[in-house]
Symmetry: C2
Subunit: 139 residues, 2 copies
């Protein structure tokens, strides 16, 4: 928790009871919850915390690099006609997806145990960050 306070200070984020609660709730979660799921949990302790605050707080933490946004960025569902092996770079600013073709990335060593545990239909390396345009725009 001490690290949380330090990270807040480093990012000029005020330490509010809501932020502390959101961080604790996410940290103690075993799954990969949505804002709504965390909101439901926090309602018990803070009956009038708003969903907007929970969501905004989580996005703020993610932007500060304190937590991650994972599969499902909150964008609409998107499709790819290319079923050949290739990879993606996702720009977290403009939300564009860029194809990456690099044979060095194609060999993903999935262990036999993993293949046994799951029926794997998709394997892809997902890179994320800022594309060239957004990088220069934000400076």
């Amino acid at each position: 928790m001490e690290e949380f306070y330090a990270q807040c200070r480093a990012n000029n984020l005020k330490i509010t009871p809501q932020r502390v609660a959101v961080y604790k709730a996410l940290s103690s979660s075993l799954s990969h919850p949505s804002a709504d799921q965390i909101h439901k949990v926090l309602k018990k302790e803070f009956p009038n915390i708003s969903l907007d605050t929970v969501n905004r707080t989580l996005v703020t933490f993610a932007k500060a690099g304190m937590i991650d946004v994972v599969e499902g960025h909150g964008d609409p569902r998107r499709f790819d006609p290319n079923r050949g092996t290739h990879h993606h770079f996702y720009c977290i600013s403009c939300r564009e997806i860029f194809d990456i073709h690099d044979s060095a990335l194609d060999r993903i060593p999935v262990s036999p145990e993993l293949e046994k545990k799951f029926t794997i239909t998709g394997k892809r390396i997902c890179l994320s960050g800022y594309c060239d345009k957004c990088r220069s725009r934000n400076q």
Copy 2:
């Protein structure tokens, strides 16, 4: 296009003008469009094609393995407190995300050109398919 017809037959999907149009539109798209974007394009040719049909058709194609759903599965945004290197398996049936810790997967060889082209803040291997529960349930 001939392959499209064959895939439809193999999956018992009726070949309708709408499905042909959706497939053509996606195939000729350079980006990774959403259902809404494809719907807007098709409106010009089929003024009264519905968004539901476009979306349903795309999901149907994806389930048949004819196209892919990429970053953003249409799920709500989800968060991960664990910023250490790890990977994810996403179940396309129950939508649960499972953590995968496997050091063999950690070495993702991102080329210097790629690092130059983008500011990469996240690297992760995204596996998808069916988890154990859903695999057995669907049989």
